[in-house]
């Protein structure tokens, strides 16, 4: 595209000279082509987005059993779920692991982003290495961590033994299992979130810091009074992302128990996503699994709303 577009453009003003068929075709092109361009996405959306969503509702109203009989159940699946101890156990596990993972992760990611925002050598290699966990496959990481947390020969118990801590059976006990899984999640996502925070920090005008420094504000004060409030939009993005990811947690806890969706001998680290897979695809109770999927969605909405409100308050005013 250069200067020669102009004379040609002038020439094309004499479009009337063209055969009418071509004009019609070009109008069709302008009017219809945009729809043609977006249609692949929306056809896929209809088939693999809208259809499953609507039919999850449909399935959730029926009762399926192993023999293959199907019966109308109304809201029975939902009422049964709300009285199902295993379901509540999965909800508690999911929320607990989400909190144990996310709270420290956000603080660490903020600190790390603040550190990454300084001037130092080897910037790119250091940024790349904190992203390294993200590109590693979840299953591979969970396998490695599971070995690190092994009771008798795991590195974690060995290191803890220096401080006189007795051997912990990380997989068998509830809270240790939550912590072990939360560390896997944090290992994967802290660096990524730090990079996102860093991107947000770099959009904050430097004059703000200079003005604050002239006014005698300490670095710590600058972080709390300038960086955090200015980061709020980025934080909303990161927190919503972590909420969706954390409440649908599946790969780490499943791999922690050797690829089994039971989540430990007592279900001590079974998440809601694992519960859905177990009900739907190990016990073939499709209706029950579908109802659980809707409740999971509800849980995500509640989680997102709470997080949104919390983040809105960060950094004071407004």
């Amino acid at each position: 595209m250069s200067l020669d577009t102009l004379p040609r453009a002038a020439r094309n003003n004499h479009r009337r000279a063209r055969p009418p068929g071509r004009r019609w075709r070009s109008r069709l092109d302008v009017k219809a082509m945009p729809y043609a361009l977006v249609s692949p996405y929306f056809l896929l959306f209809a088939a693999f987005g809208l259809f499953p969503l609507v039919f999850t509702l449909y399935y959730s109203l029926y009762d399926y059993d192993l023999a293959g009989t199907v019966e109308w159940a109304g809201l029975d699946n939902y009422t049964a779920l709300l009285g199902d101890e295993d379901f509540w156990n999965a909800v508690v596990n999911t929320v607990a692991m989400f909190l144990i993972a996310t709270v420290p992760q956000m603080l660490l990611a903020l600190l790390l982003a603040n550190a990454l925002n300084k001037r130092f050598r080897l910037r790119l290699p250091i940024r790349m290495s904190v992203l390294l966990p993200l590109v590693t496959s979840v299953v591979a990481v969970a396998v490695v961590f599971t070995q690190l947390y092994a009771r008798d020969w795991g590195l974690v118990n060995w290191v803890l033994s220096w401080f006189g801590v007795d051997k912990t059976n990380w997989r068998a006990e509830r809270i240790p299992a939550w912590i072990a899984i939360a560390t896997m999640v944090d290992w994967r996502w802290t660096g990524y979130n730090a990079i996102i925070f860093l991107a947000g920090m770099q959009t904050i005008p430097r004059d703000l810091y200079e003005a604050a420094a002239i006014d005698g504000a300490s670095r710590r004060r600058q972080f709390w009074q300038i960086t955090l409030p200015m980061l709020r939009p980025t934080m909303i993005f990161v927190v919503l992302n972590s909420t969706i990811g954390g409440l649908t947690l599946f790969s780490e806890p499943t791999t922690f128990y050797g690829g089994n969706v039971d989540g430990g001998s007592q279900g001590q680290f079974q998440t809601v996503a694992m519960f859905i897979v177990k009900q739907g695809f190990r016990e073939f109770d499709y209706g029950y699994a579908a109802a659980a999927a809707w409740l999971l969605f509800l849980l995500i909405l509640i989680g997102a709303a709470i997080n949104f409100l919390v983040v809105q308050r960060i950094g004071g005013r407004k």
Binding site: M1, T5, R8, A9, S26, V30, P34, Y35, L37, V38, P40, Y41, F42, A47, F48, F51, P52, L53, F55, T56, Y58, Y59, L112, A115, N117, K118, F120, I126, L131, L132, P133, L134, T136, S137, V138, A140, V143, V144, Q147, L148, G191, I195, I196, A199, G200, Q202, T203, R219, Q222, T234, I244, T248, S251, A273, V277, F281, Y286, A290, A293, I300
Partner: protein, 276 residues
């Protein structure tokens, strides 16, 4: 005092972050290159041994694990999804960014909404039943098709096209008599190539790592690499060197992509974050 010069605390923190990020991967290499006796020794070994080659050969030759098939399948699935998603997103992104049509804003909002719904977990029951009725369970089609729907891709390419292709350029080409598809091919595609690269790398990595849906819809006979590792893990739970050699093999393609495109990945993530 300069707010942007690093303190000692900052340097220590960065050092710790780098070591912690790399350690589990280093550990994978250590165990994958040792013997089973070493893997369960206390204190554990800290340096790589000399058995990496043997262990990898053992994994690849293991009939039950179907590891080579898993790697091949993952490669096919990830490549097909990546190429399709990039094309679909680039087309739609061009329409949303540079063309005007009725309902454009409404459709764009719809795309944003689909990004917020975890479709993969929500719709898993009907999707599975659909695959059963099409007799696609156990085939790669069942893994590929649902992932062609990628709202993030459309969103990213819309944002990228807006910034990389000025409206004047599209209008000038239009006045020149170029049809829409020709404009896409000659004007838009060359300008949005960096955005396509970011989306492509992202999609490839997500697909390579995907776990829940393949675990439901595939069988261990025709696995992706993540399913192959899971089978290894379930069947040979104490054979650490075998499992670790498998995990090491499974991340080699990702690490290669990462080293080759690290700059674009970091840059793309940061740009995407600010715009979102």
């Amino acid at each position: 005092m300069n707010n942007f010069s690093p303190t000692l605390f900052t340097r220590v923190m960065l050092g710790v972050a780098v070591v912690l990020s790399a350690f589990p991967l280093y550990w994978m290499l250590v165990i994958a290159s040792r013997t089973n006796a070493d893997a369960i020794a206390v204190p554990p070994p800290f340096l790589p041994g000399g058995n990496l080659g043997d262990n990898i050969v053992e994994v690849l030759n293991n009939e039950d694990a179907k590891f080579l098939l898993g790697l091949t399948n993952s490669f096919i699935v990830s490549s097909v999804v990546t190429v399709s998603v990039v094309i679909i997103s680039t087309l739609a992104g061009f329409a949303f960014a540079n063309l005007s049509f009725k309902g454009r804003n409404l459709l764009l909002v719809l795309v944003l909404l689909t990004m917020a719904v975890p479709l993969q977990q929500m719709g898993v029951v009907p999707l599975y039943r659909l695959m059963v009725s099409l007799e696609w369970t156990g085939t790669l089609k069942a893994v590929i098709l649902p992932y062609l729907l990628n709202g993030f891709g459309v969103f990213l390419m819309t944002q990228y096209t807006r910034q990389a292709v000025p409206m004047e350029l599209v209008e000038a080409a239009r006045v020149d008599g170029a049809a829409t598809l020709r404009i896409w091919w000659n004007v838009v595609l060359p300008a949005v190539r960096p955005g396509m690269a970011v989306l492509g790398i992202n999609t490839f990595m997500l697909m390579w790592n995907d776990f829940m849906w393949p675990l439901i819809v595939l069988t261990p006979d025709n696995p992706t690499v993540q399913i192959a590792i899971t089978s290894l893990n379930a069947r040979f739970s104490t054979n650490y060197t075998l499992i670790f050699a498998g995990t090491a093999l499974s991340i080699i393609p990702l690490i290669a992509v990462f080293i080759a495109f690290g700059r674009q990945i970091v840059g793309g993530l940061m740009e995407g974050a600010v715009k979102a």
